[in-house]
Amino acid sequence: MFTSFKQMIARIHAFFRSGEFDRELDQELESHLAMLVEDNLRRGLAPKQAAEAARLQLGGLTQIREAHREVRGLPLLDTFLQDVHYALRALRKNPGFTAIATLTLATGIGVNTAIFTAYNAVALRPIQAPEPGRLVQVTRSTRDPFFSYPDYAYYRDNTRSFSGLFACGFGNTVSLGGADRQAAAPRASIASAAGFRLPQALAGSSEQAGAVGVSENYFKALGVGAALGRTFLPGEDTAGAQSVALVSYNYWESRFARDSGLIGRTLMLNGVSVVVVGVTPRDFSGTWPMVPNLWLPLSVQSRLTSRGDPLHDRNSVCCRVYGRLARDSGPRQAEAEMNALGAQLQLAFPRADSPPTSQTVRFVLTPASPSGPPDSRATAVAIFILGAVGLVLLIACANVASLLLARSAARQREIAIRLAIGASRGRLIRQLLTENAVMSLLAAAAGVVCSWCSLRILMEQISAALPNYWGMALRVAPDQRVLGYTLFLSIAATVGCGLAPALEASRPNLTSALKDEGAAFGGRLRKPRLRDLMVGAQVAVCLALLIAAGMLARTSQRALAVDLGFNYRNIVMLEFSSTAAAMAPANVVAIRTRLAQQLAIARKNRRAHSQYRLAFGGRTGYFSIGLPHL
């Protein structure tokens, strides 16, 4: 065992120092030959015969050299490298063919890589925290992931299976004051050029920032520290504590130009002063799907909004609950404990509105992910899209296979000669496949670069088209998983487009191939059939894709032009986000009256009518104001 390990090391060494070993062997063989000649002379042979006999006794030098190389080195790798070498030479010799085939494959592989990168970034991304495998989300068997704060607090204080149970509330938009106004950034264009209207704040609006409320132990339980300053301290989630906030690195960079003086500064959020205590790490989105602008303790968030006091209301859901499993606990144990705690709560606070089935509602732990618990519908959509781009790759492979078939007809003489001088069919197929693999890998490299660039542009466009308070768009970059997927694709493409032509090309058909006139019509019965089959399949797949793409484009076009039944062009929406006190009904009426008066004065001859409605469930005010003939 030990010997064979040492031998392996020696073989690898010899493989990389092949030239040195060859020179030493040559020297040895030279001396050997000379000694043989000397001995033969001593035995009385004539000089010429002595030399001849010596060569016979030693054996063929080339054979010895090759056998030596095989014995001491890594013969499989050696022939593979030879194949790669030959493949590169063959590809260089046909630049036109190489370019077209590589581009075709690069398109197929690039599209697939792009879609998979996006899927990977959205659905397969782990939470950016140490040991994400021990993080779980607590949901119920009814798939309802929301808990009220008092319920959450009860679980948090009584659980033993979790080293930390933390909550992530809803996102909301707050108006930002107390910071210098920011110049409006240039906005993106592709989406608006395509006719997509996305809600953008009009000039003159107050500045909006997106905030996510979390429990005070959120960062501690995740094991994530602040990039600057500190995270939340225990007690900052209680009602009387000072109002604090964390700024995301991305917002700190884009809005505050990475000003380290921001720590300790007071920002006015919805008119409430909040102290910035820290900056979260770059791109940190925690359990949230996108990077928010601000992180607030749940209590601070509820103080800023007009939602009342959800922290003490057992009937109002406020947050999703996540946990980090304790070292000595597993998901089963944690689930059982949560069920027991849930039953205790049910006994202590029987809910009037709870349906009779609530006894059977059980807790379910799923691996925590920014994209939420696994969703079979989303997975089905992802599989559908991946399948669609898979078809694109299939078409690319079929195209390249046709090209290879056409080329193998031209190469038939070369292949026939190699078969005739003793190459085995397996060896030939391996060599042809190596050629394809080299091509596929080139295509994969091009595809990865293209997909990465296009995705970057796309994400920039998306994040610029969205209001910035929706949160930063995801950063997408190819990681190990994406590269692995691309490698898998290129191997699939190699076999997919190369195997049939290689089998076809290496079919021993010496007599007709070696004769020139036969070569042109060689295998005339078989090849056209394979080609016909491929063309047919290609047209079928193309048609299916074209129909799907056409329908998708037409549907989006229709959706953009759908008749809403009213003229929305001159309607603006005013949104107030403020604290509960400021949004008391009397205030709202006053605001509305004053607004109408101002509008009437501003446009004396034109009617401005205002309509006021309550937003669902909350007390935030929305006005839609019709401005005819604007």
Partner: protein, 114 residues
């Protein structure tokens, strides 16, 4: 050079080379080849070049170690000498060989007697 023949020879050749080096001390490739030819009384006719395939294998297994030197005729040559691991291997192989050859010869005697 067929595959089968060299496979059969490989083990025997290893053993012969090791034994030669143990008995004679450091030798170059030509010396080893000649010694084996003398002992086998031309019963084993191999291309002398084959000895180098055997030698590199034994070197890689660290059973023998090479060193450049000068031959009796003032020629540059690589001299091989047996290592400690090589001696151990030789002892084990020799014992094994004796056992097997003992069994074979007893079998042959039995066949002749019956």
């Amino acid at each position: 050079m067929t595959e089968n023949k060299s496979e059969i020879l490989q083990g025997t050749l290893d053993l012969m080379v090791l034994k030669t080096l143990e008995a004679m001390g450091p030798l170059h490739g030509y010396g080893i080849a000649r010694r084996i030819e003398q002992f086998s009384e031309a019963a084993l006719r191999v291309n002398q070049g084959t000895i180098y395939l055997c030698l590199i294998r034994l070197v890689q297994k660290r059973w023998i170690s090479p060193a450049w030197g000068t031959s009796e005729n003032n020629r540059k040559a690589k001299f091989y000498s047996i290592t400690k691991a090589g001696r151990k291997q030789l002892a084990a192989e020799a014992e094994n060989w004796e056992r097997v050859s003992g069994v074979i010869s007893r079998m042959l005697e039995l066949a002749a007697g019956s």
